[in-house]
């Protein structure tokens, strides 16, 4: 699905990530952890083509990211659902339209998908908030709306960057549960999180591998969590 080979990245100064190699196999569940500022968000961005590696290659669906032109990158993004760390929305459109945005921009008929949309909104518990504007949502509602938008195109891969960032413990459990459900449906899931308690809680629900960034390298974390 997503394959990083000897990837290095630097924003201009020293290298933030070095010699990162990892493969996300179909149907796998991964956590990406590490202290704040370690480069988790950067690594996620490399995975969906918001950044290109300064070293090595990133392959998504067997295509070298560097070789994709702008249109192909757009098409690739429709196959990857991303929950961004700062959940960017179009603030002038109601929540339902924001969740349906990937359908809109890919030219799919929204009416044909309205059943899906309604079901998805029920699934994330936002059925009653369809007409609210994004600035009116609470932190947890934003995260759930972002998750719904990430999966509306039925992507094979879901990348979630700190999906439980600004929410209380109960809400983070709810969000985790949704992501585990997605994995059970066969989707490949990668969650970046610095929240070790969340990762421990997940381990009881799903077979997850934990990757850790330390000292610019990516390691597989063992039982020391």
């Amino acid at each position: 699905m997503i394959e990083l080979e000897n990837v290095g990245y630097s924003y201009g100064g020293g290298e933030l990530l070095s010699e990162v190699s990892v493969r996300l196999m179909p149907g796998s569940f991964h956590f990406l952890t590490g202290p704040s500022g370690a480069g988790k968000t950067t690594l996620m961005k490399l995975c969906y083509g918001a950044l290109l590696p300064t070293h090595g290659t990133v392959k998504v669906f067997d295509a070298d990211m560097r070789r994709l032109d702008r249109d192909q990158t757009a098409l690739m993004r429709r196959r990857i659902g991303v929950v961004h760390q700062d959940c960017k929305f179009l603030d002038h459109l109601p929540v339902a339209d924001n969740i349906a945005l990937p359908l809109t921009v890919s030219g799919r008929d929204k009416r044909a998908e309205s059943e899906n949309l309604a079901e998805l909104m029920r699934w994330v518990g936002l059925a009653g908030r369809a007409d609210a504007l994004p600035p009116e949502l609470s932190g947890g509602e934003r995260q759930r709306a972002a998750l719904a938008r990430a999966v509306i195109m039925s992507p094979d891969v879901v990348l979630a960057d700190e999906p439980t960032g600004n929410v209380d413990w109960e809400m983070s459990q709810r969000l985790l549960h949704l992501l585990v459900e997605l994995n059970k449906m066969g989707k490949t899931v990668l969650i970046a999180s610095h929240d070790l308690a969340l990762i421990r809680a997940a381990k009881s629900q799903v077979q997850a591998r934990v990757l850790r960034i330390s000292n610019r390298r990516l390691q597989l974390a063992g039982s020391d969590l």
């Binding site: 918001a50 702008r70 249109d71 757009a74 098409l75 690739m76 993004r77 429709r78 991303v82 961004h84 960017k88 929305f89 179009l90 603030d91 002038h92 459109l93 339209d97 945005l101 990937p102 809109t104 921009v105 890919s106 030219g107 929204k110 938008r149 195109m153």
Partner: protein, 299 residues
């Protein structure tokens, strides 16, 4: 571009248009600028069409002709007319010369003095219509010869004094066309500025659209469609005001002779209807290029 894409570009779907938030000031700027420009374009168009009519009339109707006027006492008029015709016949460069009949002369004077003018009782000069050939004749030489042989003859060489007028009318027409081009260029510049302002104001929106997999062409279309429609509406309003203004211009009466009305005539009334379409095309192209350039910058 395929048919389907052009269709979707023009009609679009309501949802696609909403992805870009309505932006007050660029919308008003575009509406106002295209209305003002269309208003001016109507007058530039009227000017060049009128100048064209003027140039055509003067150069066609009076092409290569001159008039010889013979003012002589009634008893010598016929003799001098014949003498003048003889001189003209011998002059190189003159294709034909013909004395106007009394009826023709009366018809020429009728607009000024009324139809029932007693020509016989007035000392009206005899007119001879002279048509030159391609080479033309030597007007000064002819004048000297006539002065010697036909004392009552005066050569009135209208092509010579009308030619600069025809030229003036032609430059007026070119000026009108040039103004229309300038107006088109200024419209393109203003819409480019407005489109760039809108693109910059919506950088965040563009980023979100990108992240959910929108292609550049989709994002560009959302802006292009807006600016095209605004330019079309603005220009339509400007043309309506402009044409009302032209209607209010004083009409040139036919008796006014060589002047023509500044307004539109006949099919010319339809010409301004092209202005909103051209304005929309200009807006379309300007926004398209601005958006593509901008989207390529922010990768």
């Amino acid at each position: 571009m395929s048919n389907g894409r052009i269709r979707s570009l023009l009609l679009g779907d309501a949802q696609a248009d909403r992805v870009v938030p309505p932006s007050g000031f660029t919308a008003h700027l575009t509406l106002f600028a295209s209305a003002a420009m269309a208003f001016l374009a109507v007058f530039a168009l009227a000017l060049s069409l009128a100048a064209g009519r003027l140039a055509d009339r003067w150069s066609d109707e009076l092409a290569r002709s001159a008039t010889l006027r013979i003012s002589a006492p009634a008893d010598q008029k016929a003799a001098q007319t014949n003498a003048a015709l003889a001189v003209l016949e011998q002059t190189p460069g003159i294709a034909s010369a013909r004395a106007l009949s009394d009826e023709e002369q009366a018809a020429l004077l009728a607009p000024w003095f009324g139809a029932d003018l007693p020509l016989d009782s007035l000392p009206v000069p005899q007119l001879i219509e002279v048509i030159e050939d391609d080479e033309g004749y030597d007007a000064e030489g002819l004048r000297l010869r006539l002065a010697a042989e036909v004392p009552g003859a005066v050569l009135d060489d209208h092509t010579r004094w009308r030619r600069p007028l025809v030229e003036a009318a032609n430059s007026l027409r070119r000026l009108g066309v040039f103004s229309i081009l300038l107006i088109g260029g200024a419209t393109a510049a203003m819409i480019t500025l407005a489109a760039n302002a809108a693109l910059a104001a919506n950088a965040q929106v563009i980023l979100v659209l990108r992240l959910v997999g929108a292609r550049d062409s989709y994002i560009a279309q959302a802006f292009v469609r807006r600016f095209t429609i605004r330019a079309l509406l603005g220009a339509a309003a400007g043309v309506a005001f402009g044409m009302a203004g032209v209607l209010l211009l004083p009409e040139a009466s036919d008796a006014g002779g060589f002047l023509t009305g500044l307004g539109f005539q006949g099919a010319g009334w339809f010409a301004p209807l092209l202005i909103p379409i051209l304005g929309a095309l200009v807006a379309f192209a300007a926004t398209w290029f601005a958006a593509r350039r901008r989207l390529e910058e922010i990768s």
